[in-house]
């Protein structure tokens, strides 16, 4: 009996050996993706991570990976739940030890929970437009990157936009800040308070409790206050409710301006007519007119390798945002390979260096076909944000139309707030900040 088994066993062993050799021969760059496609925010995750994965496949199909290194990924479902996010991260960590792209969780809570862990494990944590915003100060947070822009810079940019609209003077105007009463909604307050002191406008803060599907009292208050503008920081179901409530009390929608998590198709379409004229900030435009999005549809979906089951999400704000996140991540891999060896898989530590030394100008964005998908980005040790610019877009009833060019927040006002907060964090955690002037 045993004798008969032996040849079979050795055949299996041989074929296994051959298989594993084949895997070693081609370099692979691994992307751990703790994402979400089910749960309360599943719809948002489907579009974002669909875009992210489509771009990775696009690079694989179009140029055979980054300098010949194939991009691979593994998804783990977090359901936007902090504990599950940590579990996912721990599960994928060992696989990411050899090579790891930036980790995008698209959840402030999860990224908060991972900030210390990722620094310990030397894995780069990207938080594009969410997360711990004082990680802009890279001297305290070497492995965390709130790339492109932060809530505070966004709030400041929105104020700047309103100021330009009001002929450069906001003095004596009244602005209501209507926000989701959570970590997400409260992040921007500190920036708006600073702006209101600087520009001498009245700031009225009105919180909305989670989930925000009942806002009668808040809008009654807004009607009494008669503000010139409402800056709006909603999330999920709260967004459409606010738009409908605004219509009910007769507050003009074109005086309402939202954050980038309130400005996707998912937010305005359910509000129907009530959303027309409403404005929101964004760092990426919607639509398939962006060359790279059109090319993804042709190349990836043409080859039947598209990640989206519902292809109507192609070209939506969040899909394009997922692509923009992937563009940045892949550019970071490219940058790392320039320094540490082309055609090799990059470790988390090497990718971290690249994320800190990104320099993507308009010419490069154009070459990637990603014009308007991202502003120009130049990061450094003391600026992990790299841009701080947003565009304002307006919903015309059928699609989002950009109504401004790139607007940069008031960096001189906002960045010192980050540094102060990062300093406090370093003190609490016993971290000695790096000396950024010595970083290369």
């Amino acid at each position: 009996m045993i004798k008969n088994f032996k040849p079979a066993l050795s055949a299996v062993a041989l074929s296994l050996a051959v298989l594993s050799q084949g895997a070693v021969a081609a370099e692979e760059q691994f992307f751990p993706i703790p994402g979400y496609r089910v749960g309360p925010y599943g719809a948002n995750g489907q579009a974002f991570y669909g875009g992210f994965i489509d771009y990775l496949n696009y690079v694989n199909l179009k140029e055979k990976g980054v300098n010949g290194v194939t991009l691979t990924y593994e998804e783990c479902e977090t359901e936007y739940n902090n504990a599950k996010g940590v579990e996912c991260y721990e599960r994928m960590k060992s696989k990411a030890a050899k090579s790891s792209g930036p980790i995008h969780t698209m959840s402030t809570g999860i990224s908060y929970a991972l900030i210390d862990k990722s620094a310990q494990d030397k894995l780069p944590l990207a938080m594009m437009g969410y997360g711990r915003t004082d990680a802009v100060d890279g001297s305290v947070f070497p492995y965390a990157f709130p790339l492109v822009t932060t809530y505070q810079m966004q709030a400041s940019a929105i104020v700047k936009f309103l100021k330009d609209k009001a002929a450069g003077d906001l003095k004596g105007k009244k602005i209501v800040y209507l926000y989701h009463d959570s970590a997400y909604g409260k992040e921007a307050i500190i920036a708006l308070e600073a702006e209101s002191r600087l520009n001498k406008f009245d700031l009225v803060q009105i919180p909305v409790a989670h989930p925000g599907n009942e806002q009668g009292a808040q809008w009654l208050k807004i009607r009494q206050e008669k503000p010139d503008y409402v800056i709006f920081w909603g999330w999920g179901v709260m967004n459409q409710t606010a738009l409908k409530a605004a219509q009910k009390v007769g507050f003009p929608r074109d005086k309402m301006i939202g954050s980038w998590w309130t400005g996707s198709e998912e937010d305005v379409v359910p509000a129907g007519d009530a959303a027309k004229g409403y404005m929101a900030a964004t760092w990426n435009v919607a639509g398939k007119t962006v060359p790279v999005i059109a090319d993804i549809e042709k190349t990836v979906y043409g080859a039947g390798k598209g990640n989206l089951q519902d292809t109507s999400k192609l070209g939506t704000i969040l899909y394009n945002r997922g692509v923009s996140a992937a563009v940045l991540s892949v550019e970071a891999i490219r940058k790392a390979q320039e320094k540490y060896g082309k055609g090799k898989a990059m470790s988390g530590e090497q990718v971290r260096w690249a994320l800190e030394n990104l320099n993507i100008n308009d010419a490069r964005l154009k070459a990637l076909g990603a014009t308007d998908l991202l502003p120009e980005i130049k990061t450094s040790c003391d600026n992990h944000e790299g841009s701080g610019k947003v565009k304002i877009q307006q919903w015309d009833g059928a699609k989002w139309v950009p109504v401004s060019s790139w607007i940069e927040g008031n960096k001189a006002l906002i960045h010192p707030l980050f540094q102060a907060s990062a300093k406090q964090y370093a003190k609490e955690k016993g971290i000695t900040p790096r000396d950024c002037s010595k970083e290369k």
Binding site: N82, S94, T108, I115, D181, S182, A209
Partner: protein
């Protein structure tokens, strides 16, 4: 044959009153503790510590807390997560505001603060019972989360309301690795679990059970309802509070009020329902079932799909996982409504007769 108490004579009161009267149980518990303290740290990987064992122990402790209140004293509560939040935020604040505060003392103070809040929200239990009380404790759930969001002082004026916990330093030694954190959590959980085991067979525990079974009868035989019920609330909240502090300090490292949601309270309630209402052991079994099964399915399903060549995306896996999980809960509730602990008890009884059942 192996599990039989025949021949074990108790010759002293101490021997008769000990925590585990059967010798095999004592040996079993000792072996279990030895494995948990020495075997596991040698064998388990970092993933096991930080993603499975630590949360398992912490939720087992919270479930134990709820079990004291619901299982032993019969007061239904939906506020466990809120009491955990109180424990977490209180421990954080004690650590932050009192210079040189030992971390273990902070945990205890966190637990005591939660106990105080628990007594406050336990007051309605003197007048209302059953499902109506559950609704009253629901108020605790919403009020506490609101309160932690509303007053920035509680989160040290953090702009987002999220707190990042301080370092874990015990007698000058900093606990950093998952193994060290695991051992700390394990020690605390073992001490508290043994204390609970002792407590429920004391006069206090018997008073609780009398109140649970029929409060009018209990008061007739001389049990004062008010102190008994409030004590149950206090001790239960203390356990939840310590679990919350461990959740913040040893597991996630940073927490926000919204993390302690009603969903988490339900999860803890399901743990004791599945594990066994009114059983210390059941708290652990329930926590293991509720926490580990989804992870197991999460890992096993893609593997099975790979074998059969099914095209499963991670979203499909998630959906199937929820389905299977729900089905299993229903299965267990139908087959064994008294929980996993009851299954364990039946197994023990069968073992006593084995191999000659009459």
């Amino acid at each position: 044959m192996l599990y039989r108490e025949a021949g074990q004579f108790k010759t002293t009161y101490a021997a008769d009153q000990q925590l585990f009267p059967i010798r095999q149980d004592r040996i079993g518990v000792l072996v279990l503790l030895a494995v948990a303290f020495f075997g596991v740290p040698l064998l388990a990987s970092e993933y096991w510590f930080s993603a499975i064992l630590i949360p398992f122990l912490i939720f087992a402790l919270a479930a134990l807390g709820l079990n004291i209140l619901t299982g032993y004293a019969g007061q239904l509560s939906l506020g466990s997560a809120a009491f955990m939040a109180v424990g977490a935020y209180a421990a954080y604040n004690f650590q932050l505001r009192i210079e040189g505060m030992p971390i273990l003392l902070s945990f205890i103070c966190g637990g005591l603060t939660a106990a105080g809040v628990g007594i406050l929200f336990g007051l309605p239990s003197l007048r209302i019972k059953g499902f109506y009380l559950a609704v009253a404790t629901l108020a605790a759930q919403f009020f506490i989360v609101w309160c932690l969001t509303k007053f920035p002082w509680l989160s040290n004026n953090s702009s987002s309301g999220v707190i990042s916990t301080q370092q874990l330093i015990i007698l000058g030694y900093e606990l950093k690795t998952p193994v060290e954190k695991y051992l700390l959590v394990l020690s605390i959980v073992v001490v508290l679990a043994l204390a609970a085991k002792n407590l429920v067979r004391s006069s206090t525990g018997r008073a609780w059970m009398a109140v649970r079974d029929m409060d009018v009868a209990a008061s007739v035989i001389g049990i004062k309802l008010m102190p008994t019920k409030l004590l149950a609330f206090a001790i239960s909240s203390f356990y939840c509070g310590v679990a919350g502090a461990l959740y913040a300090f040893c597991y996630l490292g940073s927490v926000e009020p919204d993390g302690f949601s009603l969903e988490m309270s339900f999860k803890i309630l399901f743990m004791i329902i599945i594990g066994g209402v009114g059983s210390i052991m059941g708290s652990f079994m329930g926590a293991a079932f509720i926490l580990l099964l989804p992870i197991f399915l999460d890992v096993a399903l893609p593997f099975l799909a790979g074998i059969f060549g099914l095209p499963f995306s991670s979203a499909t896996v998630s959906h199937i996982q929820i389905l299977v999980f729900g089905a299993l809960i229903m299965f267990f509730l139908i087959v064994e409504p008294h929980g996993l602990a009851r299954l364990w008890q039946i197994a023990k009884e069968k073992l006593r007769l084995w191999p000659f059942p009459h």
